[in-house]
């Protein structure tokens, strides 16, 4: 289908391009609300962010408006986190994301569009604290 190919070509042309960096402070109240929402009452999360908190701090695997011409819904395919240093309450984290890959695959219910995002998270001391690879699917 011509439209589909055009969407994929447009997205593919953006592979490697970095999005604008997003900076946010790890607020105690936000970490607490996040821990409550996931139902994890570990007192450690009053000082430190739980393993998946970074996705809430600076969401960068955005739902690309231009990909919405493909299919009718989004699904999360997977998330891979790498940790290099703890993320503590009070830290100021800058997240920078980029599209790492875009490809189409046939599934049991038709073709799916996969968009892979890479995000790096750097703290106020310039230390890379974590990297995240997220695979988002249009179906």
């Amino acid at each position: 289908m011509t439209t589909t190919t055009a969407v994929i070509d447009r997205l593919r042309s953006r592979i490697g391009a970095e999005g604008p960096p997003v900076t946010a402070v790890v607020e105690a109240g936000h970490v607490r609300r996040f821990a409550e929402a996931i139902g994890d009452s570990n007192p450690r999360w009053t000082r430190e962010a739980p393993p998946t908190f970074l996705v809430a701090l600076a969401p960068v695997s955005l739902h690309l408006a231009e990909a919405e011409e493909y299919g009718h819904g989004w699904l999360n395919g997977g998330n891979r986190f790498e940790y290099f240093a703890p993320v503590m309450v009070g830290d100021e984290i800058t997240a920078t994301g980029r599209i790492a890959d875009v490809y189409e695959k046939s599934g049991s219910t038709g073709t799916l569009l996969f968009i892979v995002f890479d995000t790096g998270y750097v703290n106020q001391r310039g230390e890379l604290v974590a990297r995240l690879r997220g695979t988002t699917i249009r179906r």
Partner: protein, 130 residues
């Protein structure tokens, strides 16, 4: 207590509700309607509202951090979503040690629905303290 290959992590059973999905949507900042709007979810060919993949990841993260405690540091955490899960049904998080080499430990982790189907599968690695 030393960690051995084959050791199973204590199960963590979650009982997510639509209310929790709304709470999580707010805490994460993901307001995609399929997680709280029944009619919307059905319009996009889902059986109903479904759990956020990242909420299931957070459950599995808790499984690992509860087990690891202060014995070590999480180094990698990788999850793939293989099926949808709906609120109102228990979600069982499980894991097992697959490798121990020196201070490095590898785990397989997964989340099961009521039927025992693994709808989320993943791995985690940790580095133990001295």
């Amino acid at each position: 207590m030393s960690i051995r290959v084959g050791e199973e992590l204590p199960d963590l059973v979650k009982n997510p509700t639509t209310r929790q999905l709304v709470q999580y949507a707010g805490a994460q900042g993901d307001f995609y309607e399929i997680h709280y709007d029944q009619a919307y979810a059905q319009r996009v060919a889902l059986p109903g509202v479904i759990l956020h993949g990242l909420l299931k990841a957070a459950f599995l993260g808790q499984l690992v951090t509860d087990w690891l405690g202060d014995r070590g540091t999480l180094k990698t955490f990788d999850v793939s979503y293989r099926g949808v899960d709906m609120p109102g049904h228990p979600y069982r998080c499980r894991g097992r040690v697959t490798s121990v080499e020196g201070y490095d430990v590898e785990l397989e982790v997964w989340g099961e629905d009521e039927a025992g189907k693994r709808t989320t599968v993943g791995t985690a690695t940790a580095r133990l303290r001295d």
